[in-house]
């Protein structure tokens, strides 16, 4: 065993041993080991958040969010089980019915993490009833558009603006079913200091924050998840190691 391995702690995911540094989350350690744990609100380079709950795993039999739960020596993590797949699918279906997602008209289709997650989890049609909410579109910014119909409240834009751009363009406003993304100006995103080059303009996993005038630059059918399921780059890492 190398000196570096000695500093690491060890735990298992679905029976496979995984080495990790203290302070890492289960999600981070799993990704480095080439194990994909489905996730939406977690994003590399942003602080853990824990809102979508798609990454729910069992830790020593207890449900926990893999993206916020720190690793500990000897913990037993269950990830790829039929029950968890069903739980995750139920949650993803909740996100679908909560907003208005008409993929065939959406610029994000094919690059959308929510859509790709639906495919990966084998979702055909949501088991939940559609809510068809009335939501706004904010087109006030010259270069970026916000279509709240597709927002899944993952807060990636909030964190990216704060942590990567050094700004504070986004924040949640209201609560519960009325919670939504607010922007740092009374009249919409156009009044904020959001720039099209901001990391926050890239961080959205769905078709809520989209850049203007670049739509359909890559044709449908040739997009990220059109060819490979979401998570395959992580699993490819494992395959390369093995």
């Amino acid at each position: 065993m190398s000196a570096q391995d000695a500093a690491k702690l060890s735990f298992t995911i679905d029976g496979k041993e995984v080495k990790a540094e203290p302070g890492q989350t289960i999600l981070q350690a799993a990704a480095l080991a080439g194990i994909y744990i489905p996730h939406l609100c977690a994003m590399k380079g942003l602080s853990p958040w824990g809102s979508c709950r798609v990454c729910t795993v069992l830790v020593n039999g207890k449900p926990q969010a893999a993206c916020t739960m720190p690793v500990a020596e000897g913990m037993i993590v269950e990830n790829d089980t039929a029950e968890l797949k069903d739980l995750r699918s139920s949650i993803v279906e909740m996100l679908f019915v909560e907003g208005n997602h008409f993929c065939m008209f959406c610029e994000k289709s094919g690059n959308c993490e929510l859509q790709a997650m639906g495919y990966r989890l084998g979702m055909l049609q949501p088991r939940h009833d559609y809510m068809f909410p009335t939501r706004q579109v904010d087109a006030s910014h010259p270069d970026v558009m916000l279509d709240h119909n597709r927002c899944i409240l993952c807060a990636r834009c909030i964190r990216a603006s704060k942590e990567l751009d050094g700004k504070n363009v986004f924040q949640f406003i209201h609560r519960g079913a009325h919670k939504r993304i607010g922007v740092d100006a009374a009249g919409g995103a156009g009044g904020t200091n959001l720039a099209v080059t901001d990391k926050a303009a890239e961080a959205c996993p769905v078709g809520c924050i989209v850049k203007k005038r670049v739509g359909f630059a890559v044709p449908i059918g040739q997009r990220l998840y059109d060819t490979k399921p979401i998570g395959s780059h992580i699993e490819a890492g494992r395959a390369a190691k093995e």
Binding site: T56, L153, Q171, A177, K179, V183
Partner: protein, 611 residues
């Protein structure tokens, strides 16, 4: 009309333009300007050097804040399940008729606004309303008429003829129409109290000894979760931090719970003494009481008790002559959010933010208020801790059961002759308690509030204690003729309203569950809906981020267990349901609104609690 911008500037100034005090600033602006308007957000952001959207985030989170001008008198009718069973609907109708407005509206003369609010901690004297920060209890339709007539003439709230309640409710600084309904005093919380005795004893020991004493008493938290208090204090003492804090959770938002209200009214000194002892034990010199906004009527009185304790050397520097030991307490008011009773949401709120829970771990004992080690305990837990130090751990442990030592203060409401507060040793059975409160023909008992469990008569032989029927104090009694499913639906309304919305399963799942349960009440349910309720409840329970979502499906899960036949009875037997989710009544509601008359075929039905 006072203008929002200048009021905002002035209020910010009063709090030293400290953004950590944003809650108090928003409360002040709302009270003085009648709303927190867009200009106020700009002005507050400027004064506190914050981003506007951060101010908006907090200002739009709490039910007591409004961006639209509210009336001089904001009337909030409690629509908790118990209040509904005791005639809240009649009171609502009377207010509507007297004022000529609907709930959510303000009268044209700018005098009155009407709103619903969840449990305000008065279930023992329901139906109750809040008018600004005044409580009016046992409201009748006659009283509604009188209240509106008095206030309409331009008189202030002082002119309402309200009978003052017993005990300190009649204290000059309280003057509330609230009764204690303190039916049984036990040996711990409501025994006679002499200020300083417990504290003196504490200060004669080393701090670590105090923690040993609390551990030996086997005291567990009274707020609901039942975590061992001594361990919590030990973790906080051991955690590194330049500052440490002791917080008292007086948010008391769990429906049907009102015992902390009575403790704060009759034994506030004991609460503060317990907090001070906790401060000494863990090495903290600052304390915060998080008092729910609904209890603002107690604020001046509690501030006065604190001032007297400072004057008596029980707070401040060199407390009781102990060189170097300092401790003081401030009161943080909430503004209408049940989730702020959850300890990490409470901390967010104290920090001046929206009341979203924080990610755990780290736990408050490691990183709490301002990221510093923080002890959070319920009001009653602080009282018990002080008594344990005063009378010794074995005295305390000799009461109650092995795993649940001491007494518990119960809040009993609903269908019984003597609703009120009972301090009784742990271990009493449901049957025994029902007999003491004068309940007959009881068909169901809700143990632990909306987030607890509904049990039927087959479980009435069980004991109240942590390993059988755990409760933070709420015991709601339901008699013959009550509908368990309608009650469960009322609780789901509560969770939908109070979810913070941070995480998917709770934000979306609570609404889906309520809708599906509603189908049973409306006779639209199919057999498959039982399975849906069970499965989706489990998803919400297992995947939610905090205790609110993790317990929100309990009304459904526990009635599925105890009252399954009620569900089965409601399943549509004959007739083909093509698409159960499709409610023709709702579908034509908009059109009916435009036409100005209800549909003859599909009048909208609503599942609510039937009295």
């Amino acid at each position: 009309m006072t203008d929002n911008a200048s009021v905002s500037r002035q209020v910010c100034g009063n709090f030293g333009n400290d953004k950590g005090r944003l809650m108090d600033i928003l409360i002040g602006v709302q009270a003085q300007a009648g709303c927190i308007a867009p200009e106020a957000l700009d002005e507050i952001a400027k004064s506190l050097s914050m981003n506007r959207v951060e101010v908006e985030s907090a200002a739009t989170f709490y039910a007591f804040f409004s961006d639209k001008m509210r009336g001089r008198f904001v009337i909030r009718l409690c629509n908790d399940v118990i209040d509904q069973l005791q005639g809240a609907d009649r009171v609502a109708a009377a207010f509507r008729a007297e004022l000529g407005i609907e709930f959510g509206q303000t009268t044209a003369d700018g005098l009155f606004s009407l709103a619903y609010t969840p449990c305000i901690g008065m279930s023992d004297q329901a139906p109750a309303v809040l008018i600004n920060d005044r409580v009016v209890t046992k409201v009748s339709t006659d009283m509604v008429r009188e209240i509106v007539q008095t206030l309409r003439t331009g008189k202030s709230l002082e002119h309402l003829k309200l009978t003052l309640g017993d005990g300190n409710n009649s204290h000059p600084l309280v003057r509330a129409m609230v009764n204690n309904n303190l039916r049984e005093r036990g040996a711990v919380v409501f025994a006679p109290y002499t200020p300083g005795v417990a504290l003196q004893r504490a200060l004669s020991e080393q701090p670590v000894e105090i923690i040993k004493i609390i551990k030996a008493s086997r005291l567990r938290g009274r707020g609901g979760a039942g975590f061992p208090t001594g361990m919590k204090w030990e973790f906080t003492r051991a955690a590194p931090g330049e500052r440490k804090f002791v917080v008292c959770n007086a948010d008391e938002g769990e429906p049907g719970t009102f015992k902390d209200r009575v403790i704060l009214t009759e034994a506030p000194g004991l609460v503060f003494e317990g907090m001070t002892i906790a401060g000494y034990a863990v090495g903290a010199s600052e304390g915060i009481v998080y008092l729910r906004g609904e209890y603002a009527y107690l604020l001046a009185y509690l501030e006065d008790v604190l001032a007297k304790r400072r004057a008596a050397g029980l707070l401040g520097r060199d407390i009781l002559g102990k060189a170097g030991f300092k401790f003081d307490i401030r009161i943080q008011l909430g503004a209408g959010a049940y989730v702020c009773g959850e300890e990490t949401a409470l901390l967010s709120s104290c920090e001046g933010k929206a009341g979203n829970p924080k990610t755990r771990p780290p736990f408050p004992a490691q990183k709490g208020y301002l990221d510093m080690p923080t002890v959070i305990n319920n009001v009653e837990t602080h009282c018990a801790a002080a008594r344990i130090v005063e009378n010794g751990p074995s005295w305390f442990a000799s009461m109650g059961t092995k795993a649940s030592s001491g007494t518990k203060v119960f809040s009993v409401s609903g269908d019984c002759a003597q609703p009120g507060v009972y301090e009784i040793p742990f271990g009493i059975t449901v049957q025994e308690l029902l007999a003491r409160v004068g309940a007959t023909d009881t068909i169901a008992v809700q143990v632990g509030g909306a987030s607890g469990r509904m049990i039927g008569p087959s479980e009435f032989g069980r004991q109240f204690c942590f390993d059988q029927l755990a409760t933070g104090g709420s015991v709601m009694v339901f008699g013959k003729g009550r509908d368990p499913l309608a009650i469960a639906h009322g609780f789901m309304d509560f969770f939908v309203e109070e979810s913070c919305g941070y995480c998917t399963p709770c934000r979306v799942g609570t609404r889906l569950l309520r809708e599906r349960l509603g189908r049973f009440l409306e006779g639209r349910a199919e057999a498959a809906d039982l399975d849906y309720l069970e499965k989706t409840s489990k998803v919400v329970k297992n995947a939610s981020r905090c205790g609110l979502g993790q317990t929100a499906p309990n009304p459904i899960l526990s009635t599925l267990q105890s009252f399954r036949s009620e569900y089965e009875r409601c399943i549509k037997k004959n007739g083909t349901v093509f698409l159960p989710s499709f409610d023709p009544g709702k579908a034509v509601a908009v059109a009916a609104g435009i036409a100005g008359r209800a549909s003859e075929h599909f009048g909208t039905k609503k599942g609510g609690v039937k009295a």
